[in-house]
Subunit: 223 residues, 2 copies
Amino acid sequence: MKKDYTQLGKQLGYQFNNESLLKQALTHRSAKGAHNERLEFIGDSLLGMFVAEALYFNFPKATEGELTRMRSQIVRGQTLTKIAKAFELSNWLVLGPGEMKSGGFRRDSILEDAVEAIIGAVYLDSDIEQCKKFVLGLVEEYLAAVDPSKALKDPKTRLQEWLQSRQQPLPVYEVIETTGQAHNQMFTVECRLETGESMVAKGSSRRKAEQAAAEKALEVITK
Amino acid sequence: MKKDYTQLGKQLGYQFNNESLLKQALTHRSAKGAHNERLEFIGDSLLGMFVAEALYFNFPKATEGELTRMRSQIVRGQTLTKIAKAFELSNWLVLGPGEMKSGGFRRDSILEDAVEAIIGAVYLDSDIEQCKKFVLGLVEEYLAAVDPSKALKDPKTRLQEWLQSRQQPLPVYEVIETTGQAHNQMFTVECRLETGESMVAKGSSRRKAEQAAAEKALEVITK
């Protein structure tokens, strides 16, 4: 069955000059032929950059930390999966036999990668300005909905709230190393969860190291 | 003493229309007035994107993993510090009284941030094409020198070599959790170092999870 990539282009709001780029963007490495991993690499960096730029201008008073957290709300896998599902990209994926049956988070991660790869493909097929327009179209509703107050919460607070909402005990933070002198110290902090998982991070203050460790813990437990 | 930003612009190879942007890019948050944190946010994403694009075209046969590793060789702090030192940015930093005396990695991190902030400032002062030219000029020698064979080594190998070169015992990897079924499994692996540090990572195979944990360990110990 021949797929109608012009039709998909219409849905995506971008008509490819070279439709084989779009096909490649939808081809998982498990399938034969040109797959989407390199396109994903370039698409991921374009997505991050355009979202960073949009947030910079949309939130002129946000701090760097707030901008970083808002960006990760938008470019995280969950959002990309939603975008992929809105375009029913599942129907367009080209998968190898081993991946045909996979579902759940494995399928979600294939969909996320495809969204990034499509962004890379649009860039290679056109130019940076058209790619920007395409990306801002994809993330429009998420950019509009991004919640600075949510983004304001620091990782330790979010980790605490996440654990409490699941009736799990609070994490234990411990300074396991300090190096350097007075004006030049580096703290290494371990954040241990009741589940036995343990994350280590560094920072120029105890507080920063704890926040960084909490951030890592959130990544692990919410992935 | 008034600083001659036109002079610095000449050295950097970009003349600012609005020199206050360059001054802001060199101003640490510890100083009074407009500081460089937001510029750094946007500069960081522009740098990552332009380097990703250059590597994509320079290495048409590199896999996504190789591209990712080459990029982190170029955009890591160490490289940015070298760039900052080549332009003697230390002499141009605007610091608060508390930071004036700081040296070592703390000063290095301030310099790295300034390089990223200057990239953001060039973008805001001009456009994406001029910013691209500027960034490629900054990283030219690092792009030319990037070593695909070095980049080819996987994190577990690099971690092992790093530890061996310091006469430290090899890390211990342990699967601490598996979830999901047959076509859809997720492995959680812990990588423990003799120093007591422990990193946890997930992956769709035991090997991938181990590599991800080794990558985290490398980040922590080489930071």
